[in-house]
Amino acid sequence: MVKVFIYPATSLILSDMVARFGHEPLGSAIGIRERIQTPGIESPPLQITPEEPKKGLKWAAVEVPSGVRGRMAVYGPLIEEAEAAIIIRDPDYAFGCMGCARTNELIQFHLRHKEIPLLDLAYPTSDEEGVGFVAAIKEFLTGLKTEGSA
């Protein structure tokens, strides 16, 4: 089982595909769940504490706004853990404030520089594109070698 980072990190389709073909999807829910289930000081709504922008310094420079560094504290450890990644190009719904936009750029930058197997796709808009989309993901995921396998 290979850990596959999905972008957009909240994608239902990618999360399902990765799990369906026998691997472990790494997305926002994993990072958020870790914070939601850790006791500490109440910091609603996502339990992002003032410590997070400091942790985010590992993946974003000090002059980067704290909002981006705080977000990177959630995604950074997941990117480090990832052994492969699937990226959907220009997902319409992943827009947001400037903090989200810059974090999205930084996530893709880190993934593309990590020298891990990477699949780049666009959302399908027809049945034929759907066949290509699923076939590309299935071929990519079945080709991933699990640690220790030949």
Binding site: P8, T10, S11, L12, I13, S15, D16, M17, A19, R20, P25, G27, S28, A29, I30, G31, I32, R33, R35, I36, Q37, T38, P39, G40, I41, E42, S43, P44, P45, L46, Q47, D92, Y93, A94, A122, Y123, P124, T125, S126, D127, E128, E129, G130, V131, G132, F133, V134, A135, A136, K138, E139, F140
Partner: protein, 156 residues
């Protein structure tokens, strides 16, 4: 600052989305309750939320997926069901994250079609299908630079 003591520690929550002509969320909930063996299941308008320890949830969602493999989609959720920070019963309006689900649920019909077709393909056919990029053949909006050239080329 108040102390934070989380509910449902050590559990995982999964969303189960169903977009099937043969299975409604209600039917799915009834079938899931029959095999749930005490795992917490919440019925929603789009499917279910399943909460329990990873050892309980994993086999259950695999069994749920088998009800209609090409039309059931599953993903992780960070929050437990009914959490006051996310539940629309407390916040009003659509739940944060609903926009993303709404967007992707418009496209899962293509994924369902793809899953059905790919299941019957051998390696060669799958490779050929994966290598095709029909999205690159989509009609594109006119490039503004080209438009400018067309305007400038017009005779006075």
């Amino acid at each position: 600052m108040a102390e934070y003591i989380p509910n449902y520690q050590g559990t995982v929550t999964k969303y189960v989305f169903v977009e099937s002509p043969l299975l409604t969320p209600k039917d799915l909930a009834v079938k899931a309750y029959e095999i749930s063996a005490g795992v917490m299941i919440k019925e929603t308008c789009f499917g279910l939320q399943v909460t329990g320890t990873p050892e309980e949830v994993e086999p259950l969602i695999e069994a749920i997926r088998e009800f209609d493999p090409t039309h059931i989609f599953i993903k992780d959720r960070g929050f437990p069901p009914g959490d006051e920070r996310r539940c629309r019963a407390n916040l009003g309006g659509a739940r944060p994250g609903y926009l993303g689900h709404e967007f992707e649920m418009q496209r899962v019909r293509y994924i369902s079609h793809g899953l059905g077709r790919v299941a019957g393909m051998d390696d060669t056919e799958m490779h050929a299908a994966a290598a095709r990029r029909p999205e690159e053949e989509r009609a594109r909006p006119l490039d503004p630079r080209r438009l400018k050239k067309l305007i400038e080329a017009e005779e006075p």
